[in-house]
Symmetry: C2
Subunit: 449 residues, 2 copies
């Protein structure tokens, strides 16, 4: 098998390190091919998923807290493993931003520990029965929330995703197979060791969370084409990764594609709200998927609102690009091209387009947007209702910053991503998005007439 | 294009017939290939879906009632078209049961008309906002139910499925592309003409419901691999069809696989309930997916329950096949083989297996079942709770006939199928299963801190 993780010091417990070394030697010695290896992980995950699905909340929470403890007390081992990745990244000429994303700083580890404790504190969705009602036949019919089974997660660089994803999947009663970026392989394996320790200490199967131990790309191809072992794939990364996985996968993919978010300032907008929200949605953070990328302004109020707004953007260092009509109001900015309307800048750049009415704004959003998050600023009741209904995005807002599109802000407790798809899960995906519902039917000897 | 539908008399309105003839001639004359043709249907469906998604309940209901009216007043044209299919079926040597399924009898047409009126009377799920709550930030966050977009339906023989599927998709705000069996092509086109008439009369686009006009199998291949035009596929038919489609589809498939349903009679079952439910679940109807196919009996009560139960089954003409232990109690029946445990008989045949405890029953169900519907008969509280939690099926029941697993019985009003899958929809799929939810966020100039 190509590129198996090197035998690094992952454990502070010598016996654990010995077991890990033996496992890696086995893999190397057997020259096991990647498909066999992934099939083995898949079968183990499927078996473990049955036990995790039945684990009660207390057991799952104890495992999450034990993982937090293991990470908290493995800071040296984590730092050593991370150093191997950082050295390799620098040797491979990765840029500073990439190296920074890879670094497991003490604060990052604090966040991982705290995140695990928070997930332990969330309500357990599994087994919740809702809508249990009597039917005319006399039977009671309700729905019980149940885990999906096995979730495959494919992600890039940041090693803390390993903990976030594993904890949400475990809490929702699912087994997970995680496939992180090759540049973080040592860090991810060190984190995986802590996760396994937490599982083992509480009596849950270690195979409930498995982090793929090879950087061979064939592992991804295998993971997304094993419907017998994997029920859903959650890719977390760039658009290219997600499109590739969606194209080739043989199971449902919960897609988190790009966020080309819009704010439409209506001719009946309150000017102060419009400016405050438009500033916040663009400048609160530049690199997030719920950041506004295109501002649509009703041409009737452009002259009133845009000059003041542009001054504030420019004071904050935001580059503005406008359509021909916008340039008439803001002659100092550069012209936007068609490419701008479908670009997720993730940077201090904003495209501005004037529209004649809400219908034109909605048509633009449904055509150029990414079905992520879009907002209207208006005081008009009828238009707010129509906008909510007609914009085909995972979050549709009135008079609110797009930056609120987030699992925590929505009250989900945590999120594994924001689905821009319509099937199964849409918008921020929390614990419920990683579950399904089965029907439960209670009777007293009822038969069908 | 191969095997385009022949130019038959579908319409009582000569002008309509003329338009249809011209359309077919166009298709024949152009030698349009199937991929081009399906792409055209797909684009038309995508365009229509935007209009249907925004159509209000009154408009959709008027269209459904107009379709009912069109079918009711086109009985002669429907019978003439159906006769072409029946003649072809007999000429092709189809067996009587198949020919019977194909026949559009007056009672079948009555059911179609009545079905359309019932769907018009169901509550409209689209636009319903739930869980709209204030968050600590001051924003209000809720979920709005929205259509999926375009639904592709692939089905076999029975032409009344055309109406059922079209009406449920329209009511839930979706456009549909329907691909029926080649043996029903004339009947389906005649039904499609009535559907189009209803859409046209109420001002909805006729392309909101399109019935594929070619019997070329390549049409199916195209339909399931156009994620840009089709959002979800619902196959209705045999296991072979569904497995083939699931394997090749590039979009989510709402699968209705086989129903290998179990009843487990616990050692703490009430004998009368056990016998009544077991008789009903097997003999109420033999050909339905929610009919029991395997009976599991706790060995401690086998001698008490099985002889009386067997006598009743045999009086009703049900063939019994038992495991070795069962044969000790019922020496008169034949031995079951391993194949029996994973067979959906759809016939008056029942496999019986003795188990030592509930755990063995659950293990058998999760291994050999089809995750459709399974039931425990017990008076024991703890076991009923554990069975509900641990059996991994779309419907899990206590002391109730499996025959209740049905959209009408569950209060969904109607169903497009029963999903044995976990993603998106599970169990009977009604109007809600053909929709998704987007987040709606209401604020008053709120910005993220």
């Amino acid at each position: 098998m190509a590129a198996i993780v090197s035998r690094c010091a992952l454990y502070h417990d010598p016996a654990q390190q010995e077991r890990y070394n033996a496992r890696i030697s086995d893999l190397e010695g057997q020259e096991m091919n990647v498909e066999q290896y992934m099939t083995e992980l898949g079968q183990q995950a499927r078996d473990a998923s049955r036990l995790v699905a039945r684990a009660d909340s207390g057991l799952k929470n104890r495992a999450l807290l034990a993982m937090a403890e293991a990470i908290d007390s493995s800071r040296d081992a984590l730092a050593a493993a991370n150093q191997l990745d950082l050295d390799a990244a620098r040797a491979n000429g990765l840029d500073d931003a990439m190296v920074d994303r890879l670094a497991l700083k003490p604060a990052t580890i604090d966040t991982m520990v705290e995140g695990l404790r928070q997930v332990a504190g969330l309500p357990d969705p599994v087994g919740a029965i809702t809508d249990l009602n009597y039917r005319p036949s006399g039977i009671q019919v309700g729905k019980m929330r149940v885990p999906l089974g096995v979730i495959g997660i494919i992600y890039e660089s940041r090693p803390n995703v390993t903990v976030e994803a594993a904890s949400l999947c475990l809490k929702s009663g699912n087994a997970t197979i995680l496939r992180g970026g090759s540049e973080a392989i040592h860090s991810n394996q060190a984190v995986a060791a802590c996760i396994r320790q937490g599982l083992r200490e509480t009596g849950l199967p270690e195979t409930a969370v498995q982090v793929v131990e090879t950087t061979d790309r064939a592992a991804v191809g295998a993971l997304i084409t094993m419907p017998e072992f994997v029920d859903v794939i959650v890719p977390r990364g760039g658009k290219g990764l997600i499109e590739r996985i969606s194209r080739d996968a043989k199971v449902t993919v919960i897609k988190h594609l790009d966020g080309i978010c819009h704010i439409y300032i209506d001719d009946q907008a309150d000017k102060t709200k419009a400016i405050n929200v438009a500033i916040n949605a663009k400048t609160h953070r530049y690199g997030t998927c719920n950041t506004m990328e295109t501002l649509l302004v009703n041409s009737a109020v452009a002259a009133e609102i845009l000059p003041e707004l542009a001054e504030r953007y420019q004071g904050l260092g935001v580059e503005l690009r406008g359509c021909a009509q916008t340039l008439e109001v803001l002659p100092q900015i550069v012209a936007a091209t068609d490419v701008d309307w479908s670009t997720e800048y993730l940077a201090p750049i904003l495209a501005i387009k004037l529209v004649d009415d809400m219908a034109e704004a909605i048509a633009h959003i449904n055509r150029y947007g990414s079905h992520h998050t879009d907002c209207i600023i208006t005081e008009n009741y009828t238009k707010s209702r129509a906008f909510l209904l007609e914009v085909d995005s995972s979050s549709v807002m009135v008079n609110t910053s797009t930056r609120f599109a987030d699992g925590f802000e929505y009250g989900l407790g945590a999120e594994i991503g924001i689905s821009t798809d319509k099937i199964h899960a849409r918008g921020p995906v929390g614990l419920n998005g990683l579950t399904s519902e089965k029907y439960v039917v209670l009777g007293d000897g009822h038969i069908r007439q």
